[in-house]
């Protein structure tokens, strides 16, 4: 079986023909760069109208008998993290060890808000995975979450000593984003008088 004959490599081309065939790849390289630049912008960063504004006013009942609930007034004094979670949310389970580690370090007070959840299920969730929160509140109606501009659970907010929201992290906490996003910002806020 003979293979197909190949056109000899030295075949002459009409002058100027080659650059014409380079147009597609040139266009593609341009496009590739634009796509690459587009990827550096994180679409998950939703501009929040509340950044650098005071946290909304709220007063939520406690989830657990031995931990207090959470109100706007509790956010003042020192920088804290406010973490929205729910028992029905799988990424909340994933971030539980990260929160537990952060709570054990004692670097920062973490307040939890159980979002649109059955309180009994919320309590079971904390029993099973450990409670990293100093205060845990129930937002059964999800009203406070709306005031915070919550995009989904889990979501974590950094609130400064004056009670203003300084940063929000949509999605689960991971060891990586804890190191790169949360801890440096907290440290900067804690250094401030």
């Amino acid at each position: 079986m003979q293979l197909h004959d190949h056109v000899p490599p030295g075949r002459p081309f009409p002058p100027g023909a080659r650059p014409f065939y380079l147009i597609p790849i040139a266009c593609f390289i341009g496009l590739f760069i634009v796509f690459g630049l587009g990827l550096t912008k994180n679409p998950a960063i939703l501009p929040s109208a509340l950044i650098d504004k005071p946290a909304p006013s709220f007063d939520l009942p406690p989830l657990l008998a031995d931990h207090p609930g959470l109100a706007q007034a509790d956010l003042k004094g020192k920088p804290v993290l406010v973490n929205f979670f729910a028992s029905w949310c799988a990424p909340c389970r994933e971030e539980a060890p990260v929160l537990a580690g952060l709570a054990a370090s004692g670097d920062v007070a973490i307040f939890g808000i159980d979002y649109k959840d059955n309180p009994a299920a919320g309590r079971k969730f904390l029993e099973a995975l450990g409670n990293p929160y100093q205060r845990v509140a129930v937002d059964a109606a999800g009203r406070t979450a709306i005031d915070f501009g919550l995009y989904g659970v889990p979501e974590t907010y950094i609130v400064d000593a004056k009670g203003s929201i300084r940063y929000r992290l949509p999605g689960a906490l991971t060891p990586e984003n804890l190191q790169s996003e949360i801890l440096p910002r907290l440290a900067a806020l804690q250094r401030q008088p």
């Binding site: 079986m1 003979q2 293979l3 197909h4 004959d5 190949h6 056109v7 075949r11 081309f13 023909a17 080659r18 065939y21 380079l22 597609p24 790849i25 593609f28 390289i29 496009l31 590739f32 634009v34 796509f35 690459g36 630049l37 587009g38 990827l39 912008k41 994180n42 679409p43 998950a44 029905w88 949310c89 799988a90 389970r93 994933e94 649109k116 099973a128 999800g142």
Partner: protein, 663 residues
């Protein structure tokens, strides 16, 4: 355990794909048949392994195994079985596995039915095809593994977006992927041809069934997607120029161009490097479509699978597949010399015009889709490009395309007879102009675009019928002769006639439903009635309803045209999905295949009653019927004798003076 077996099967599939890349290509280069023949069993094995892997995941969805992360995140025990299954591809990880499954199905199909291809060529095709497989299986294993476990397993899953819980969307992705991924075959054939440095009519004939198959599936997929948007999203529209819709439309446009230009290669042995380019472009656009949807670079209502990390991987994959093939194209395409000559007015000329217009239309949609991204890359404002842009750019391009569409098939190859064509098209021209003027007078000149549209639809339909009549010599001889010719007409010719008629039908549906629709939007309580387009809509009552994972209310409307009895009773509903706390309005539609009566119950009002939107859409059903007819035309063409298995044989081409025969 089954899930781990599925994971393992996918890893094995990757190994097999790697073998399939290297060995056959090596064999084809060195001329060793034994090595080339590794391709077929490898392609079959790759398919079997991916199918095992897919079945393992499917099993986890069917049995609601919430220890599997993707199942826990996307399924729920109370979901109806159909949506448990479709939930598999309603999310990123599972949909990528479906993508790869379909890829391997195509590979296995070439291995099974490609016996007529020369061994070296087949080996190259399957090797190139396996390269795509390696890339995407790696993508799944490294960034989107659907087989990950979660511990402890949650008691129940999170369910999926209720908008996706619908039969239309359950079957939309498989069809869309059959189309997208099907163009991978045209791509592999094109790259293999570039590697060999040769494209000839036999090549065009080999690649045609695969392109047709992909095109039919994509047509059906777009049709389903558009119909889903129409009845599920509840705003009465069927196309929104959403980036994700455009992502499926661009490969469709360039794939349509490819189908037409490949005919020129097949019949006239010219337009070769352009056809190759279209084959590369169409698959590139399919990949870009995947990229746009998967990476979230463009935010859209559909972007439920946004993830920049995966985006980076896909970008790399795109760079390798598209960049690599275009470099090969730049090196190899100049040696593809045409042998056929033709005059501008000829069948070839008409097909070149078709290609130019379709390619320009593709670029137009591409720019509109990516313009926001370009702006964003230079830190400009966030914008979105909407319907007005496409009305101003895309629609004018379609007008000459449709005008030429009726005349093109009447032209002969090489040199066409324009005055002769003009004479034959006298009647279609007269009738369509009369329809255009008539509808415009009827409408009082208020919707000029709709009149032009309906006139064009008539023109395309009548021109196509004129062509058919000419082929069978209708009224030019004894009727028995016409019948005999009708029977002897090749399936490919029937396919074209059917598909072109489908275009006319879709066009008529689009323009009439847009230009002459009527709507009534008002707050209504039970007992109220309203008149829309001459029909009396009476809001009879409301009643509670429930399904396995939702509760809601159902309204009942009687529609009558003034007679004693209503001609239809419609029951739109509002469903609240308890898990997601999401309320969806379910549309109710009555159709008589000429018009749709459409009602949707919106938000309840504080003072009582609901916002009720009522639409009357004349000819709207034709939009989707036309699309299905187009797909059917493709299928008929696919059954043509010359494309059947084993039929295409590379013949010696005398005209070119080269020896092409594989001796």
């Amino acid at each position: 355990m089954i899930i781990e077996a599925g994971h393992f099967a996918l890893v094995l599939a990757l190994m097999v794909a790697l073998v399939q890349v290297v060995i056959p290509l090596w064999g084809a280069t060195t001329g060793r048949r034994v090595l080339m023949d590794v391709a077929e069993p490898a392609a079959l094995m790759q398919f079997v392994l991916v199918a095992i892997s897919f079945a393992a995941l499917l099993n986890a969805y069917i049995t609601s195994d919430f220890s599997v992360l993707t199942v826990a995140e996307n399924s729920h025990s109370t979901k109806p079985m159909m949506y448990k299954i479709s939930g598999l591809w309603g999310n990123h990880e599972g949909s990528m596995l479906l993508w790869v499954l379909i890829l391997t199905i195509y590979g296995a199909a070439v291995a099974l039915f490609g016996a007529g291809l020369p061994p070296a060529f087949r080996a190259r095709v399957l090797s190139v095809h396996a390269m795509i497989g390696v890339g995407f299986i790696l993508f799944i294993l490294l960034t989107s593994n659907p087989f990950l476990r979660i511990s402890p397993a949650p008691p129940d899953g999170q369910g999926m977006n209720p908008v996706l819980q619908d039969p239309g969307l359950a079957f939309h992705p498989p069809f869309l992927y059959l189309g997208y991924v099907g163009f991978s075959m045209a791509f592999s054939f094109a790259v293999a041809a570039l590697l060999e440095g040769r494209v000839d009519p036999a090549w065009a004939r080999w690649v045609r069934p695969w392109t047709l198959l992909a095109w039919c599936a994509l047509t059906a997929g777009i049709c389903l997607g558009s119909f889903w948007a129409y009845y599920e999203l509840g705003w009465g529209g069927w196309w929104a120029w959403d980036p994700v819709e455009n992502a499926s439309f661009m490969p469709w446009l360039s794939g349509t161009a490819l189908l037409h230009s490949a005919i020129v290669v097949e019949k006239r042995d010219t337009l070769k490097s352009w056809t190759i380019f279209l084959a590369l472009l169409t698959f590139a656009l399919s990949l870009v479509g995947t990229f746009l949807v998967r990476s979230g670079v463009l935010t859209s209502v559909h972007a439920f699978a946004s993830d920049p990390e995966r985006g980076a991987f896909i970008l790399l994959l795109l760079g390798l597949v598209i960049g690599g093939s275009l470099v090969l194209y730049a090196i190899r395409a100049p040696i593809l010399t045409p042998t056929g000559q033709f005059a501008p007015v000829s069948r070839e000329g008409a097909l070149v015009l078709n290609n130019l217009l379709l390619a320009t239309a593709t670029v137009t949609v591409f720019l509109g889709t990516l313009y926001p991204l370009f702006l964003d890359a230079i830190n400009g404002p966030k914008v979105s490009v909407g319907a007005p842009y496409y009305m101003a750019t895309f629609v004018p391009l379609m007008v000459p395309l449709l005008v030429a569409m009726a005349a093109g098939p009447l032209l002969t190859w090489k040199r066409g007879d324009l005055p002769g064509i003009a004479a034959r098209l006298r009647v279609p021209f007269g009738v369509s102009v009369a329809i255009m003027v008539g509808t415009s007078l009827m409408a009082g000149g208020k919707s000029a675009l709709a009149s032009i549209g309906i006139g064009l639809a008539a023109w395309v339909f009548l021109g196509t019928m004129q062509d058919l009549a000419g082929r069978v010599r209708l009224f030019q001889g004894p009727f028995s002769d016409t019948l005999r010719r009708l029977g002897a007409l090749p399936r490919a010719s029937w396919g074209m006639t059917i598909a072109h008629a489908g275009v006319a039908i879709t066009l008529a549906g689009m323009t009439v439903s847009t230009g002459w629709s009527a709507e009534g939007i008002q707050v209504m309580k039970p007992g109220d009635q309203v008149v829309v387009a001459g029909d009396i809509w009476h809001f009879d009552s409301t009643a509670p309803v429930s399904g396995s994972n939702w509760k809601g209310m159902q309204a009942q409307f009687s529609v009558s045209d003034g007679g004693a009895r209503p001609f239809t009773v419609l029951t739109p509903s509002r469903r609240t999905y308890s898990l997601q706390q999401m309320t969806l309005a379910k549309v109710a539609i009555h159709t008589n295949h000429l018009a749709n009566w459409y009602v949707v119950v919106g938000d309840p009002q504080p003072q009582g009653g609901w916002i009720v939107r009522i639409y009357w859409h004349p000819l709207a059903p034709w939009i989707w019927y036309g699309f299905l007819i187009m797909a059917a035309g493709g299928a008929v063409s696919l059954s043509d004798r010359r494309l059947r298995i084993g039929a295409p044989v590379r013949r010696p081409v005398v005209a070119s003076g080269k020896s092409h025969a594989a001796a």
